[in-house]
Symmetry: C2
Subunit: 429 residues, 2 copies
Amino acid sequence: MDSIKIALLGLGNVGKGVWEILHRHPNMIKEYIGVPVEIKKILVRDVPKKRDIDVPPYMLTANFDDILFDEDIHIIVELIGGLYPAYEYVKKAIEMGKHVVTANKAVIASYGRELIQLANRRNVVLRFEGSVGGGIPIIATLTKSLAANEIETVVGIINGTTNYILTQMTRYDMDFNTALKLAQQKGYAEANPSSDVEGEDAAFKLSILAFIAFGVQVPPQDIPREGITRISEKEIQYAAQLGYTIKLLAAARKHDGKLDLHVHPTLVPITHPLAAVNDEFNALFIKGDAVGELMMYGKGAGSLPTGSAVVGDIMDVASAMMSGRVMPYAYRNSGKNLHINGEGEGEYYIRLEVVDRPGVLGKISTVLGNYGVSIASVVQRGRGEPVVSLVLITHRVERKQLDLALEEIKKFDVVEEVASILRVESRSS
Amino acid sequence: MDSIKIALLGLGNVGKGVWEILHRHPNMIKEYIGVPVEIKKILVRDVPKKRDIDVPPYMLTANFDDILFDEDIHIIVELIGGLYPAYEYVKKAIEMGKHVVTANKAVIASYGRELIQLANRRNVVLRFEGSVGGGIPIIATLTKSLAANEIETVVGIINGTTNYILTQMTRYDMDFNTALKLAQQKGYAEANPSSDVEGEDAAFKLSILAFIAFGVQVPPQDIPREGITRISEKEIQYAAQLGYTIKLLAAARKHDGKLDLHVHPTLVPITHPLAAVNDEFNALFIKGDAVGELMMYGKGAGSLPTGSAVVGDIMDVASAMMSGRVMPYAYRNSGKNLHINGEGEGEYYIRLEVVDRPGVLGKISTVLGNYGVSIASVVQRGRGEPVVSLVLITHRVERKQLDLALEEIKKFDVVEEVASILRVESRSS
């Protein structure tokens, strides 16, 4: 083979990054693989559209079949995003015997296992390092470098938009809407930000992480999630006073044959490595039974960082092609007997707005106690005002029990509002 | 093949970790590779010695040839440490056509390129993830995941002993000797700690990183290094007052065709991700031209963390063996034209002990200016005492110029001592 020929599906943000990287270091890439990598065709919706990169017009096509049936093309690089038609394209490419590299979290979260099995049957590989954590090599680390470990915990900040927003709110005492607008101006949040701020994007990525780290495929829509739209400056301030910072965490934790899996705004102790992950950065904290604690930190999105992961995948597949056989990753398959436990147990931060009257705390803690919720600490803020904030941090408890207790507590005349329920990450993780 | 048979050379700390991991998850490992991994022989110095793990006596041998000439053994895992006889064993194993996995920093730093070339000629692979950063997948990340990047910077905390000592000194206002004793009690420092505290261990690992990230092989003894034995509580306090924490950093930075390469105690801005890396943890901060900033954090030593990397390498090699061909890593080879620049330029922290007299600062800054050293900030501590501390932070300057200026400054009557010269890591890295 004189060259490895690839096709890109999509020429948006990540597609342009891949184009840029392949053209920046042709010699380095050639030295790595043995032959050059050449982009032969690019699928776009609108061929004549004016673009800010210098793509020869003959490369562009709006017809996927031009690529699918081109026998010269060895690797199809799917960068369209979204579930459809990306899923069909990936599936057809694999069926046609082409290797596929994708950065598509929706496709992998929803159809990852099926597509990998299909690829194994067709003797091709499906690689998707760019689908979680942008340029951070999360998939390779969990799959290959930590292959000797039973993974116990994977918890991280895997949505850059919400981390940017929370960082601004924390650093500049900003409200959510102002921080969101700023994120939109900076290009970190989309015009319709709901998938990011409601935790949906993080749930997709967590579904992929659960597959990679624990061998289970959980539909993203089944993962309990809560976004950050209801986080107020008040919560951030109270959290800070208690020694915590608020982060949107995606967490998967194995214990006693169960897998807790959820996305929640969480109070992270300021001494925890994840507490220092700010702005648009992502980070993943992993606990393995041999390696212990491992954290990886970097840019979780963006044209070049995600392009770095995609081109890394392309180069790995291409160099394996040159040496003979391309090996599939050996994904963990041990999750068959894991019971998916959703939110599971946790420690919680609760803010109640209550009338400042003697005996209120006693009534509330009695009800909590009746449901097995024990209190680790209590702080009251706003003394002297008619309505005060009562901030409780609980010991470990099932969310269901907590919710039942709060239902009852809500009915008290003295309780104006259950203003906030947030997870608390324990200091030891 | 019904199983992959391996031999361990050495059954010390890491050897026991490898034994433990292989026996903890036999099914997981078998599922990954397709067949089980079996330890067939173990080279030890003292066969009859009593051990705290349950090794069948027939596995043990004191004769390397028993392993070298055993045709059943596919992978030799070298965990003896030190340069000799480990180097000869690795070389002979490769010549005999066996794959080699090692965690030996001395062998790889000194003979890495030669051994890799030998392995390529013999169609076997040499893998050494455990030689730098313990369980942190540094080699795989730099070599494979970031293959699409030109690496610009690799800077990190790659010696856990010194990081533990500096953390204790910082946290508890402890002097160096007390912290060293504590590290020895906890098993983080050896009875003879000189290789760690003098920066030699870090220089070995930095030599490997320079090879992996920049394609240059620099003998570890040629890397400028300074240890932490002269760091006093005073330095740590002054650094803290200026917004820095002191870490032993190993740094490799490419710029203008030059590669700065050195190990130094360094003032790290507290907002820098490396500043939060405490206790015995290691971390590596990488800048690539596509991925941007990436940091990896974890346990840089220890039986199980390093064992995790070693067994990861074994599993990768074994699974490739099962699929047909074992591919060598494509190491970067682009460093041929890089000029090794040693300490290069940097910002410096200087503490002078001077007589508190008007005009002293003027005299000193005039001399510095004569040598092109410009001052970014000055703080004087101990006002009113006869001898005061004058702390200067410089702008970027060549170390040689700084040393020439300080030679002259030392001769002033009012200058009692040039008490400390430390590097300063800039905020932007």
